[in-house]
């Protein structure tokens, strides 16, 4: 399946920062919580967000019909 890019640059930057923040708040530090389930959830979502921002394609955007990627006018 060909993945059509559906994420803009600002979205990717924002997601990367969010992903790193979630990983930091989850397993790395105990600032927010020290509960294992909560930490795993934060890490899981953080990793998903970072991966999606790296490939520029978000599966949730895809199913929900969103697109933050502006195609260049040719």
């Amino acid at each position: 399946m060909k993945l059509h890019r559906n994420m803009g640059l600002y979205d990717q930057i924002f997601r990367t920062i969010m992903g790193l923040a979630l990983i930091y708040l989850g397993p790395v530090s105990d600032v927010l919580t020290s509960d294992t389930l909560s930490e795993s959830l934060l890490a899981g979502v953080g990793i998903m967000i970072i991966i999606s921002s790296l490939i520029g394609w978000c599966p949730l955007y895809h199913i929900a019909g969103f697109n933050s990627h502006r195609r260049k006018q040719s």
Binding site: S34, S38, L41, V45
Partner: protein, 367 residues
């Protein structure tokens, strides 16, 4: 309700999802909170029971040998503490317990009704929430009752455990719910769009975009019913293009199609918003002019006739056609739409035989 209808569908769907999710989460949290409190109370009851049973055994062994009632009083005095008041208890008596902030009448029924396990329970009165434990002694049926004011710090501990363990899963759940509603909203939109497209294709002609025969039949049925009720006239006009076949044969079918598209455009531009135009097939069109009598319709039909018989430019090629228009009037010519169509057809063929133009239906008797 009107206000709700003004909110976009997607926002309504998301709000509905979030509200139901929050209600679900709140109910679950209340249930978890109550269960946690009960668990705390059970732990407290078991602890109290264990500690006091040991003390009782020791005191009994070290020699309380009076009568059962005296022995119980001695035991309760020795075990009594301000935090854990110990009271001699008899199932046949009602005991009043009172301290600075709280006064409880400890009837056996009250204890039974608030029992959590065989060892004790929690009495939850307005400002006086206490765990109680019944302790058996070897002095007959009477026993000792230990009360303990329920620790409010324990409740705070539950809330703190919530924020530690439940906050992130809750936010995660709400996040998933918002996405689910967005996805569902998108699916509903796509389905709606497909449904609209299918409906449009079912009721419209794909070449000209005009309503088709099915649409026309629905519309004329509705219009006939409406006009019956309102006693309002309407005009039905059948249009057949003259020399269309010649254009098709001489220039080709693609030019014929272009011509039909241009005729449809001209018809649309000439007619009022509430008039209905449909393509019945080939070069046959039909018009419904609601609320119009024969005189008013003639002005319109002449304009339509002039417009569609003007020369056409089809991809740099000129085309000339004529038109035959047959007219029937509701209710003068008939009250059923099948007959109206039939009579307009007859008038149209009469017009065609006379080389084109507009003909109103006239019956054989009046002709």
């Amino acid at each position: 309700m009107l206000f709700v209808n003004k909110i976009p569908y997607k926002i309504r769907l998301i709000s509905f999802y979030i509200i139901t999710t929050l209600i679900g989460i709140s109910l679950t949290l209340i249930a978890i909170y109550n269960a946690s409190e009960e668990q705390l109370a059970l732990d407290q009851i078991d602890n109290l029971h264990e500690i006091y049973s040991d003390h009782i055994k020791q005191l009994e062994i070290t020699g309380i040998k009076n009568s059962p009632i005296k022995s119980l009083k001695q035991l309760s005095t020795k075990l009594h503490s301000p935090v854990y008041p110990v009271i001699p208890y008899s199932p046949s008596e009602k005991i009043m317990y009172q301290d600075a902030t709280c006064s409880i009448s400890l009837a056996p029924e009250l204890l039974n009704a608030n029992q959590l396990n065989p060892r004790g329970g929690v009495i939850g009165l307005s400002n006086c929430r206490s765990t109680w434990v019944l302790l058996d002694t070897r002095f007959g049926k009477d026993s000792l009752l230990v009360l303990h004011r329920f620790d409010t710090d324990s409740s705070n501990a539950i809330v703190s455990a919530y924020t530690q363990r439940l906050l992130v899963p809750m936010v995660f759940f709400i996040w998933i719910t918002v996405w689910s509603s967005l996805i569902l909203g998108n699916l509903v939109n796509r389905l709606q769009k497909q449904k609209d497209e299918v409906e449009h294709f079912a009721l419209h002609d794909s070449l000209t975009g005009l309503p088709n025969r099915k649409y026309f039949l629905d519309a004329i049925t509705e219009l006939t019913n409406y006009s019956n009720r309102q006693h309002s006239p309407f005009i039905l006009a059948m249009i057949d293009l003259n020399k269309f076949k010649a254009v098709n044969d001489s220039l080709g079918h693609q030019y014929g199609d272009l011509l039909l598209q241009q005729v449809a455009q001209r018809l649309r531009a000439t007619m009022r918003d509430y008039d209905i135009i449909a393509r019945l097939g080939g070069d046959e069109f039909v018009l419904l002019l609601p609320g119009t009598d024969i005189d008013a319709s003639m002005v319109m039909l002449k304009r339509i006739y002039e417009t569609i018989t003007e020369p056409y430019l089809l991809d740099n090629k000129d085309a000339y056609i004529g038109a035959s228009i047959g007219v029937s009037l509701y209710p003068d010519h008939d009250k059923t739409y099948t007959e109206l169509v039939h009579k307009a057809d007859i008038a149209m063929y009469q017009a065609k035989q006379s080389g084109g133009g507009i003909k109103t239906y006239t019956s054989a008797e009046t002709a």
